[in-house]
Amino acid sequence: MFNKTEVLETIDMIEREHLDIRTITMGISLLPCIRENAEKTARAVYDTVCAKARDIVKVAEQLSGEYGIPIVNKRVSVTPVSLICAAFPQDAEKIGFALDKAAKELGIDFLGGYSALVQKGTADYEKIFLESIPAVLAQTERVCSSVNVASSKSGINMDAVAQMGRIVKSAAERTADRDGLGCAKLVVFANAVEDNPFMAGAFHGTGESGTVINVGVSGPGVVKHALENVPDANLNDCAEVIKRTAFKITRAGQLIAKEAAKRLNAEFGIVDLSLAPTPVMGDSVAHILEELGLEVVGTHGTTAALAMLNDAVKKGGVMASSHVGGLSGAFIPVSEDIGMIQAAEKGALQIDKLEAMTAVCSVGLDMIAIPGDTPAETISAIIADEAAIGMINNKTTAVRVIPVPGKTVGDTVEFGGLLGHAPILPVHTASSMKFVRRGGRIPAPIHSNKN
């Protein structure tokens, strides 16, 4: 027996409303690849990634064919590379190049994990590793990097924050010919999660099993369409509609995740129940907020609408999956969301409002193009502000800003593909230099002492 309405609803979601599995990400532990030098380690890393993820593209295509639901991205995340090359950090680049080669061999678009976790302090080998990031991002195509500089338990490592401001600048300068594209592959986190399937911030945590499948679902278009059917509903009812829709989307993700894990001989990790937009019309988180009644995203009321959306997505999704994880919530990457791009172009969406929005959604300041002459200390201060929001609110926050070389407010930047395009947003010009240069560590908040 089948229910005709339900069958046609699913078809509509897929065909007209862009329901898809946004990513199947295989997490792979690289700890068994550590050898006595960088060359041997790099070879073991390449062999391991290629062997474990050999069938990821094939299996994703099979599943997509059988279940009739698009699987947009196939990706791999690995153990933070700073740990793999702790004994030879000056040669860390070799591991990055091996990972890029493996990603190309597998036919996947991104591989995450050129990462370090330095929330409480930066070891000497990590300082050297961090300095290798800009070169690796410039010389590789598919490797993504992330650095965790703060946590609710440890506070904010302001020395690392200062260093990351310089590294973001350097990553932009080394890819100046591509409008600073290197920065689109670099995320600075607070409270980074170990099982995030989404790029650029995915890495495979040390607490994870050897090989894990994490799946990210998405469907901003489906949620918007569901809300279009209740134009005069009050916000209680809107939240209910979002919950119900999120449940259905997540159930599709859970089904695919379990099946993918089985076929790829990996453990099923988590479903990340996120609303991840793309620059395509009809796939925008901003347009959901506008459907709720805002003339343009960024105006007053945006934070409240986003808070409701984010919470309803979680509530609907949690019951639909046996293990929910990753970032789970609404994403607000400016250049990757057509509604955000439009709002930024109108001047309605500013970086201060985006910062407020990150206090209530699942991520942070994401894919924001800023003037190329923004000082490193200002970028560090932006990172510190985001980290403070994450630390105090026990949530993940992140900064992925692109100081576009040679461009300033009034210019636009085109990254292409899923990374989209965006106008350059202004940042505050008053200096944060002295604050950032003080260094040290901002202590963890009192409410982190729960033992």
Binding site: M1, F2, N3, K4, E6, V7, L8, E9, T10, I11, E15, E61, Q62, S64, G65, E66, Y67, G68, I69, K248, I249, R251, A252, Q254, L255, M319
Partner: protein
């Protein structure tokens, strides 16, 4: 294993004949059919048993899409689990 076939598009002569011939050739058995015509829009849903099918579901699904293109309809064949997962607790 069972799959659900949906055929949607502008109503036309011989749609059911073409689709059922195709399924019979593939060794698929139609268990249930529901069909409606709204104006000139045709929508048919079939529950199909694929246990004796001679090809993989993903391959038959691809051929369905191609058949749809040939006869000017949208034809999808999907594992029934996706519908059960999304609509049943």
């Amino acid at each position: 294993m069972r799959a659900i076939m949906t055929v949607t598009g502008k109503d036309n002569k011989g749609i059911i004949a073409k689709v059922s011939t195709f399924l019979a050739e593939k060794g698929a058995n139609v268990e249930e059919v529901s069909q409606t015509i709204l104006g000139d829009c045709f929508a048919m849903i079939m529950l199909v048993d694929m246990s004796d099918a001679r090809e993989e579901l993903s391959s038959v699904a691809k051929q369905c899409e191609e058949l749809g293109n040939r006869i000017g309809m949208s034809i999808r064949l999907q594992h029934e689990a996706i519908f059960n997962a999304m609509h049943n607790v």
